[in-house]
């Protein structure tokens, strides 16, 4: 809840710095005692984009044809609308209102002032809006794309990520300014936002982590590149003992939920060629077993708080890659077997345009290649994960210190 306070005295500032109306620390802290409405609004926005993103992918795999006005697209666009309302208001109100309680807790960009998260999320909103005409032109120029990773889609995904990151930064700033002894609500919300971030990350990595690639090095390089950032960041920022476990569990439950729910709704292809008969919405692949190495990471991080962050990152990387490989490799073999073709594991759901000769349709792995190359790749994945864990740890620490 935002509290209104009287204006405070303006302290002296360097002449080259924009004018603002800062308030006392006590006032700013008092105003941030409860999670404000714009953070809830932003949380709804990122939730909507995440649900919409997976819904849209399922739509393309089940029905195929879409328009701007499909429910899935509306859910994604709602993210931009909600973010626009929340952060547009926040920036304009903080900049132009003398009554703004956040004036003291603002950063200055292009003559505007607002909490930093608002600027990041607004950047995301503009990127999302820009991606629409860019994507439309892309369809005209190169055909209606049938893949996730294309330049206009990446601009859209970057925009959504920026809204997520902006929300996280706002939330971290809010928590750090708060003088309340307990931050349970903020921590839970931060874990939720990190869970959302991991779920969204796996959209970006979907084309590298499809079931047939689970015995290929590309999967292991992919999971070294991004998920460690979220896991390390959430642990460092919240200080919660099982942060990585919670975030991984959220990802797993979200994907499992889609496997259980989406096939309940009827859908038929409206595009050809139709290689697989589809009668219901197609869910995503079974989630990767991040939760196993995540538990190990949490246990490690509880015991290594005094270690150098590079050392923590290196050991975390080793645990992450080796444990993930140890559990995912045999589990992937199970997913390829006929025993997994059921309503729970969902490997019987094949999207309509999947050619019969494809690896997934034949339930076989993409050729693994020489073992030596694979193990060299794993070493490379460990190197990458060391860097990304370190990045996540330092970003988590940094977020733990921001006040604006």
């Amino acid at each position: 809840m935002v509290l209104r306070t009287p204006m405070a005295t303006i302290p002296a500032r360097p002449s080259n710095f924009p004018s603002s109306v800062p308030q006392s620390r006590a006032q700013a802290a008092e105003e941030t005692a409860a999670i404000p409405w714009y953070i809830w609004c932003a949380t709804m926005a990122v939730t909507s984009a995440t649900v919409g993103g997976y819904w849209d992918i399922s739509w393309h795999e089940s029905i195929g044809r879409d328009t701007f006005w499909t429910p899935a697209h509306m859910a994604i666009q709602l993210c931009g609308v909600l973010a626009g309302i929340a952060f547009g208001y926040l920036i304009l109100h903080t900049t132009f209102s003398k009554q703004s309680p956040l004036a003291a807790a603002s950063v200055h960009i292009f003559g505007f002032r607002a909490p930093m998260g608002a600027f990041i999320a607004s950047w995301g909103g503009i990127a999302m809006l820009t991606s629409a005409p860019f994507d439309n032109w892309w369809h005209d120029a190169y055909g209606i794309d049938v893949k996730i990773v294309s330049p206009p889609h990446i601009l859209l995904i970057s925009g959504v990520y920026a809204v997520v990151i902006g929300t996280l930064v706002l939330l971290a700033g809010h928590m750090n300014r708060s003088q309340s002894k307990s931050h349970v609500a903020e921590q839970r919300l931060i874990l939720y936002i990190n869970g959302i971030m991991l779920v969204q990350m796996m959209i970006l990595l979907m084309e590298a982590t499809n079931l047939p690639y689970l015995h290929s090095i590309r999967t292991y390089l992919a999971i070294a590149a991004l998920p460690p950032i979220v896991l390390a960041l959430s642990s460092r920022l919240t200080g919660f003992r099982f942060a990585a476990t919670s975030v991984s569990a959220f990802y797993m439950l979200f994907r499992l939920g889609l496997i259980l729910v989406l096939p309940l709704f009827p859908a038929e292809p409206k595009l050809g060629p139709v290689y697989q008969q589809v009668t219901h919405f197609i869910p995503p692949d079974f989630p990767l077993l991040f939760i196993v190495p995540a538990i190990a990471l949490d246990l490690l991080w509880q015991r290594t708080k005094t270690w150098n962050s590079w050392k923590i990152a290196a050991v975390s990387s080793f645990i992450w890659i080796t444990l993930f490989t140890a559990v995912e490799w045999p589990f992937a073999s199970f997913l390829m077997s006929s025993a997994s073709r059921n309503w729970f594991f969902g490997t019987n759901y094949l999207y309509y345009a999947l050619p019969p000769a494809s690896f997934l349709a034949r339930h076989v792995f993409y050729p693994t290649g020489p073992a030596a190359i694979f193990f060299l790749g794993l070493l490379g994945a460990m190197l990458i994960a060391t860097i990304t864990f370190r990045w996540g740890l330092t970003r988590g620490e940094w977020l733990g210190k921001i006040k604006r």
């Binding site: 700013a28 960009i109 930093m116 190169y142 055909g143 700033g173 595009l271 993409y366």
Partner: protein, 501 residues
């Protein structure tokens, strides 16, 4: 940088050649059960893309038409997506329009299901599907997106600077000189990183564009050489729709081969030789395949000149191609024309009248173009009707099928950008039609032989055209030559279907 490369509002036509040359639209006149339909399919420029579908019902009583795209044969022909109902014109209940989503390259068909007062019927329209071009961005959109792009880039750099400068300050605390210095440093580092990302994305865009351009249709290369009295035609693969990687082999359902050609009304190859630049001499010949991709033709007696060769072939899945090359052929006295061969000579198109509707043949017979009084407009589907008469003006009593059909026609634009070999059924390959209808690819058409023949077609672009029409009586194949100018339409007329050019 792509953002700065927007400002070229050009359509980049990478290739004008395909099944026919410069004439992508598909025209078909056929029966869906009891209903006679004139179907026009206007394929998209890009694949995946959306084709326009126009259907004129030439029989009364049609209530509803549904259309669905299907592969002619193979894996994609087993299951059909949900068909789309075509929209009936509010001003003309006999005219229906719709869209056909073409998602992959290959040999496709539009399967039409017609419901009406005389019952139901279906008609399959073969539609070869391939990307023809890519587009550059329009200047205005490029400027807008570039401006927003620059704003996003500068905004991101500013956010990075502000994050370092102020984010960790307590509320109300003024940034120190150290904070400001840190902010400037972060801004510079952020600028380098963001610009590096933009440059990397630009390379990625270029890669994606190159990948798409690889999928733009390239006809088989055809090289012509003269070996004594034989014309040798050697086909080679320029690298279109080939599956080389493991993923391509698994995912690419359609690949082009050279060893899978099938007979199309009795021949593996139909070769039109047109003397340049006047198009005053034409031969319709039929080389024989010696081995895969290698054709030989013992040349008949020919008039000397530079010839443009248009070779029509059809692959086993019904995908048709027209291969083009040029060669100089000296004058020679050789074999006479064989049974299915035909030729004609007349004055160059530059000297011909574009309003002459009658062509006198060497044996005194006459071929007439029943042109009517409607203007000829580019982009408009219509029937071109021709009649063969004896010297006394009566219909020949010995009309015969010419390669299984009442007639063949070739529409050639005088600037060389258009060549289309048309049959009475339309612009489709007869082999593809047979496959789509579930009949053997080399089956002969069973048609009554009349002295009048109609060809459903539409001039693709404005300009001057020469039309070669072939009909047969007795053992004589007659070739009539007509000239016409297709005008640019100045108003949208949906009475027979037309699209803006």
């Amino acid at each position: 940088m792509k953002f700065l490369r927007f400002a070229v509002p050009l359509l980049c036509l990478a290739s004008q050649a395909h099944a026919h040359v410069g004439s992508p639209d598909v025209f078909l006149q056929g029966k869906a059960g009891p209903y006679q339909l004139f179907v026009t399919v206007r394929p998209p420029l890009t694949i995946p893309g959306v084709a326009e579908l126009e259907v004129r019902c030439e029989s009364p009583g049609v209530r509803e038409i549904r259309a669905v795209p299907l592969a002619i044969m193979g894996a994609g022909s087993k299951y059909a997506p949900i068909p789309d109902a075509l929209k009936v014109s509010p001003t003309d209940p006999q005219f229906f329009t719709g869209a056909l989503w073409m998602m992959t390259a290959g040999s496709w068909q539009a399967r039409l299901t017609v419901t009406g007062s005389q019952g139901d019927g279906t008609l399959s329209v073969p539609v070869p599907s391939f990307a023809r071009a890519s587009k550059k961005m329009q200047w205005g959109l490029g400027v807008i997106l570039s401006a927003i792009g620059l704003f996003l880039v500068s905004g991101l750099i500013a956010i990075i600077g502000a994050a370092s400068r102020e984010a960790k300050l307590d509320p109300g605390q003024t940034p120190s000189e150290s904070n400001l210095r840190s902010g400037r440093k972060a801004t510079i580092i952020g600028a380098v990183l963001v610009i590096a990302i933009v440059v990397a994305c630009n390379y990625w865009w270029g890669y994606e564009e190159n990948d798409y351009n690889q999928r733009i249709y390239k006809p088989l290369h055809m090289a012509a050489t003269l070996n004594g009295t034989d014309l040798s035609l050697q086909l080679s693969e320029p690298g279109w729709m080939q599956a080389r990687t493991i993923q391509q082999i698994a995912f690419r359902v359609f690949t082009r081969k050279m060893d899978d050609l099938v007979l199309d009304h009795g021949h593996l190859m139909h070769l039109y030789a047109l003397r340049q630049p006047g198009l005053d001499v034409v031969y319709h010949l039929h080389p024989e395949q010696r081995e895969n991709g290698s054709f030989v033709l013992p040349l008949p007696s020919m008039v000397a000149g530079q010839y443009k060769l248009y070779a029509d072939i059809v692959h086993a899945d019904g995908f048709p191609e027209t291969l083009v090359t040029e060669i100089y052929l000296p004058a020679r006295s050789a074999r006479p024309l064989s049974a299915d061969d035909a030729s004609a000579s007349t004055e160059p198109w530059q000297k011909a009248s574009t309003t002459n509707n009658a062509f006198t043949l060497p044996d005194g017979y006459k071929m007439e173009w029943l042109r009517g009084d409607k203007p000829l407009l580019a982009g408009q589907a219509m029937s071109f009707t021709f009649r063969l008469t004896k010297p006394d003006g009566t219909a020949p009593g010995d009309m015969a099928l010419y390669m299984g059909m009442v007639g063949h026609a070739a529409f050639v634009k005088t600037d060389g950008t258009v060549f289309a070999h048309i049959h009475p059924n339309g612009s489709i390959s007869m082999a593809a039609l047979m496959l789509a209808e579930g009949m053997p690819a080399d089956m002969q058409m069973d048609e009554a032989v009349r002295s009048t023949v109609s060809f459903p077609y539409g001039f693709p672009t404005p300009g001057q055209y020469r039309i070669f029409v072939q009909m047969k009586h007795g053992n004589t194949v007659e070739t009539g030559v007509f000239d016409a100018i297709a005008a640019l339409p100045n108003s949208l007329d949906t009475s027979v279907g037309r699209r803006p050019l």
